[in-house]
Amino acid sequence: MTNSRTILICSGKGGVGKTTLTANLGIALAGQGARTVVLDADFGLRNLDLLLGLENRIVYTAQEVLAETCRLDQALVKHKQEPNLALLPAGNPRMLEWLKPEDMQTIAGMLSERFDYVLIDCPAGIEDGFKNAVAAAKEAIVITTPEVSAVRDADRVIGLLNTHGVSPVQLVLNRVRPKMMANQDMLAVDDVTDILALPLLGLVLEDEQVIVSTNRGEPLTLNGSASPAAKAYGNIASRLQGEDIPLMDPAKERRGIRARVRRLMQTKIF
């Protein structure tokens, strides 16, 4: 497909929300009518199947597709409630011994012929798993949290994405806590975007419902949840599709006199 977009979802640091974003974005894009496939490139520690609730339906994986022991459509797992979404599961961790960047390019190439969006869930780290995944990507979403370690690792990844000619690269800031930001006990949104110098694709508030949805294997975007994170993921999908949706302002999430004083304290004076 000529207009197909292959997007790498990466962070450097583990545990900041790559797989959750991939699952929710996949469901949201599919829900908006785009034919979407999510590719688990984390062969060592695969989890995308679990977050999508598809762990019991895997027969073949990317491994068999590459070995040509099955056809691509046999390996693709279609989501029952969201038929526009398919998962291509990661193969056995032993695949890492022989998997090459060209193999990932082959798989992504096959998928881009059939889907509007190919979302690649990148493994943590910047070693071989990352190098394989980045080879297949045209554009990227870097996800980070407002913590020094996550921002530092995101910076390393952005440098590598630039080296590999991946463009555009956009930023998602996850686990934002408006109250801590108001107290200046969490890096502000502007701090992170200034440091990383990337356009902001979305802000996701810290939200307990994410854990609940992970427990169930039903991404928040699946059932039209009204929780803050569900809305944020939906907005990210819409912005990817080119819709102009204003970004949420964490400061506006809090009202009242105390919030006003806190906002005053954040005023930049020089």
Partner: protein, 92 residues
């Protein structure tokens, strides 16, 4: 600097942790991006001091060569206070 940062300074309170986080990040990223080890940077700093010291009398105690970063561009910033120029001292 925010209003809170100013109040913290006046009241000599510990700065807000977000301010500390931002400053620490900017420093560590400058090093990450330039790919210079602290030892290499230290050696470069000493060599720069030596070269500059040939022409002007600099205050080594106050002098500083460091990496600063803004908008993904890292710069080497040298701040070398001059006591007096060598030319002036040789004319004395």
């Amino acid at each position: 600097m925010t209003l809170r940062d100013l109040l913290d300074k006046i009241l000599r309170r510990q700065p807000a942790s977000a301010t500390t986080a931002r400053e620490r990040l900017q420093l560590v990223l400058a090093h990450d991006r330039s790919d210079l080890s602290p030892e290499t940077l230290d050696q470069m700093r000493r060599e720069i001091f030596e070269v500059v010291a040939k022409y002007v009398d600099i205050d080594l105690e106050e002098g500083d060569v460091s990496l600063e970063t803004e908008d993904r561009v890292t710069a080497l910033v040298a701040n070398l206070p001059i006591r007096r120029s060598m030319a002036a001292s040789s004319n004395e």
